[in-house]
């Protein structure tokens, strides 16, 4: 296999692997406030996350900017916890109207994407030795991340669509369940990161 498909595959598996719980949990929590029919808003959200993590992945992989990996491993679940709290808090204030929540979510996706990008970079750097240019592998790896990210979003909303039809669940309840579960998972990751 050539370099490009190898790193494309690695990027895809890194984010879509169920063992890669942190990034997956963030994307799911971020999408919790959306209806499956709001695909345009979801596209903007995913793009904002992509811009954020692509920027710091490149800067960190090229050694221009870097944070200690231990710190990044704690910051990532904090982004999940803050996103889930924001989802729940915004619901209480605004009832069923999510307009403010949605626009704030774009900002969260962009800003928190910067932190996740440094996490991706830790993995990416471990794949590279000392040999040659990293531009092509970096591009392929990032593209793989994007494909994996889109797959997670597609599966999440397909599951939501099916489950909401079976159980006639309200969107606000769905948001509460997903955000609550995301926040709980994030707390465990934070504790593991600090004391583990």
């Amino acid at each position: 296999m050539g370099e490009f498909p190898t790193f494309l595959k690695l990027g895809f598996h890194h984010i879509a692997d169920p063992m890669a719980f942190d990034h997956l949990l963030f994307i799911v929590t971020l999408c919790a406030v959306y209806e499956w029919s709001e695909w345009k808003k979801i596209l903007v959200l995913v793009t904002a996350f992509t811009i954020g993590h692509s920027l710091t992945l490149a800067l960190s992989a090229l050694d221009i900017f870097r944070l200690p990996s231990d710190l990044v491993e704690v910051l990532i679940p904090i982004t999940i916890l803050l996103t889930s709290l924001h989802n729940i808090w915004a619901k209480k204030v605004e009832g069923s109207a999510f307009s403010k929540t949605l626009s704030t979510n774009y900002g969260l996706a962009l800003f928190f994407g910067l932190i996740h990008g440094m996490g991706f970079a830790n993995f990416f750097r471990s794949l590279m030795g000392d040999m040659g240019s990293i531009i092509q592998p970096l591009f392929a790896f990032n593209l793989g991340l994007e494909l994996g990210q889109l797959m997670i979003v597609a599966i999440f909303f397909t599951a939501y669509f099916i489950l909401s039809r079976i159980f006639t669940i309200q969107q606000r309840d769905w948001n509460l369940y997903i955000s609550g579960a995301g926040g709980g998972g994030a707390i465990i990751l934070i504790v593991q990161g600090i004391f583990g």
């Binding site: 595959k9 690695l10 949990l25 040999m131 583990g196």
Partner: protein, 157 residues
Amino acid sequence: MLFFKIILPFIFLLNAKEHDFKMSVCEIVYSAENEAFDVKFYLFQDDLKSVLYDNPDAPTIEEIKASEYILRHFNLNINGQAQALVFQSIKGKNDQVLAQFSTQKIPLSSLSKMQVKNNLFLEKFREQINMVYALLPGRDKLVQMLNATKTEAGFSF
């Protein structure tokens, strides 16, 4: 509704663990100066300590033990002939270990194919990924990704 209230959060919490990636990098680089291959391994220190001492926090790594472990789990075959790797050095680099070996002299003009078997750490970590890079002077870098389901790969020049 039981699914949403109990089972879904339970699935999330059950899976909540850090994304601890397991991987190694091996570079096989032809040295025109020595007319031989330099074989470098970049390994995580805690992974190596886990397989050598069953303790990721062991205080030190013994050179002999580490080199013997690598040689037991890595085979290099060039032009159909098994290569006896010669240990050069091992040194710490941040949270990694760089272990260096070399082959006997092999004329560049005679190179046609290379076969690698790499099952480092797989007895301990089933999710282990072992990247293998090969580089000849003036050629593009070649790469293979090995794991539990694929421990051998070939390069053609």
